[in-house]
């Protein structure tokens, strides 16, 4: 019940958006079964939202520890390049997936070591991989767009299982899996503890260093999955454009999900809803017939509203205002009693 209350603002936003788009585009909620798979704008959003949704899962954990991971978009490019390279070298699907995931783990380990062991601020530590990572991806693809024709790998981008697009399934499974892992074990609480106060949690017996590294590795793994989806979708690895600026969308999804950039309590469900909101805005603007130039301005407006709603300062003002009203009413009542 409390979990549902936590994501109520996000659900309401999503519902309002869907209602708004339906006004302009009545067929928005229609889903049909064509050639054994479900198609429709909603399925399209679930499918296209997969990369940002996957990134948002890892980013939520990183932000919960009071960190930030700017390198996920670049990690997508690296892992996509690795997967495509392995396939074009003729090694088959399993090695391609394994190597791509391994590259994601390596990227996460690098970031995690810099943050947790060397003690560099997360934003700078991950900026290093962000600036140099596209170079590494280009090194793998040798500056070209590596194309491949392998149905097994392409399945992760355009395939369908039980009539549902594979990227959507992968994304939802990851989100549910990580959320269960965090909430059914103590891991989630320990992550929050490190985010609130690393020194205190270390004194309380949490192995903060290992946990921090693990969080960045999780983010790298999520980025690797997103990279595989993005590469499979276009059947090629584009080192320059794969995942470009998606780290910002992922951070935005986490913030729309009501998670504080200052660490502490987090909700993966809310972040995933945040990613859905972003994708709904993107797709909705196109469907409703607005020029796509409005997209960024609407996004900015959305962020601004959310910032105002979340602001600790305004909450304090609101609280003070309510208390003032209540105390005035009580004194009015008391004086009324005295005179009466």
């Amino acid at each position: 019940m409390t979990a549902l209350r936590r994501v109520t603002p996000q659900l309401l936003t999503l519902a309002a958006l869907v209602a708004l788009i339906t006004v302009f585009f009545p067929d928005f909620l229609r889903i049909e079964l064509v050639n054994g798979r479900l198609v429709g704008p909603v399925m399209d959003i679930l499918k296209r939202g997969a990369p940002v949704g996957l990134l948002a899962v890892g980013m939520t954990l990183v932000i919960a520890t009071r960190g930030i991971d700017l390198s996920v978009g670049t990690t997508m490019a690296i892992t996509g390049a690795v997967a495509a390279w392995t396939i074009t070298q003729g090694y088959g699907l399993a090695p391609a997936l394994a190597l791509a995931l391994l590259a994601g783990v390596a990227a996460g380990l690098w970031n995690g070591m810099l943050v947790a062991v060397v003690g560099i601020q997360a934003i700078v530590a991950t900026l290093i991989l962000m600036t140099s990572g596209r170079g590494i991806a280009q090194l793998v693809t040798e500056g070209r767009i590596l194309t491949f024709s392998h149905d097994g790998l392409a399945f992760f981008g355009s395939g369908a299982l039980l009539a549902i697009p594979a990227p959507a399934l992968l994304w939802l499974a990851t989100a549910i899996g990580v959320a269960l892992l965090m909430r059914r074990t103590a891991l989630g609480m320990l992550t929050e503890a490190v985010g609130v106060n690393r020194a205190a949690s270390a004194l309380a017996g949490v192995n903060a260093t290992v946990l921090l590294i693990a969080v960045y590795v999780a983010s790298g793994l999520c980025a690797a999955l997103a990279g595989i989806v993005a590469t499979a979708d276009i059947r090629g690895a584009d080192a320059n454009n794969a995942g470009l600026w998606l780290e910002l969308d992922a951070i935005l999804a986490v913030v729309i999900g009501g998670n504080s950039l200052l660490g502490g309590r987090f909700s993966i469900a809310a972040s995933v809803l945040g990613a859905l909101i972003i994708q709904t805005v993107d797709t909705g603007i196109l469907l409703a017939g607005f020029p796509s130039e409005y997209n960024l301005v609407i996004k900015a407006g959305l962020v601004l509203i959310i910032l105002v709603v979340q602001s600790p300062n305004l909450a304090l003002h609101w609280y003070a205002l309510r208390r003032a009203i209540r105390s005035r009413r009580e004194t009015a009542l008391a004086s009324a009693k005295e005179t009466g």
Binding site: L70, I120, I128, S132, G135, E293, L296, V297, I298, L307
Partner: protein
Amino acid sequence: MNPRLYPLAATIAIFLLAWVICVLQFPFMLSTRVVGNLLTDNAYLGIVAVGMTVVILSGGIDLSVGSVIAFSGVFIAVMLRDTGLHPLLVFALLLIVTTTFGAAMGWLIHTLAMPPFIVTLAGMFLARGAAYMLTIDSVPIDHAFYDLLDDAYYLMPGKGRLTLIGVVMLLTVLAGMIVAHRTRFGASVFALGGGEATARLMGVRIGRTTVAIYAFSGLMAGLSGIVFSIYTSSGYPLATVGTELTAIAAVVIGGTLLTGGAGFVFGTLIGVLTMGLIQTYIVFDGTLSSWWTKIIIGLLLLAFILLQKGLLRVTAVRAEA
């Protein structure tokens, strides 16, 4: 030597060393032509990095500057195309718009008590979106005054061209040095970077300073946009994507601490020139692929951060002893 000068000294030393290596391999790198081009090609980056230095010194971050530069270019191009206003008047209008934009972000950061990262992220979307709404095409600037600005240069000995925008960049750095290191506002910025609570106890007006910091960054981004529009003679809403991160990298390489409270505007100039030098070297070499630029800049970034970490530890140990 004052230990606080170590990062700056290291930055300058590495820049000179890199140049010596370049010159040993390609003697022509010493010519004034290369120097002139280095200044001209990095003019817009140098200007915006000055604003970023002040923001980072205060412990904040401004992600909106790349979008503001693109918006500036589009704004100028569209205004010159659709109205008969003189470019100088358009420049003045633009600087008012971008400064107000920065001030509004600073006000939001202070009033809402939200992290600068997310507020300026919204600003980044808004500025880029505003540029898209003006036009989605690349708009050429065709104005006699622009030709004049483009052709204004001083011929240095050795036929190197010291262009107007290169000089503007150097003057901006000088102005930035004065603002950051010699004014009351600069002292407030450093105090804020050292810690908000202590700054408040020292009597720094936090709200006013925060607004001024981001307004300054907006002003620099607007100026950089003007320079970029002179450099490219056009306005394009997709231009300078990611410039904010390049500027942050230049500031860090220049020896400014990202936690705020310590650094030098002059170091940022060296940081910008170091990155420009690497690019020039790769052009001169001709066999190295462009992706090595990115990898080398990343490694440089790491080296400087580790150096700073080490220096901080050394000074901390010395302070205890």
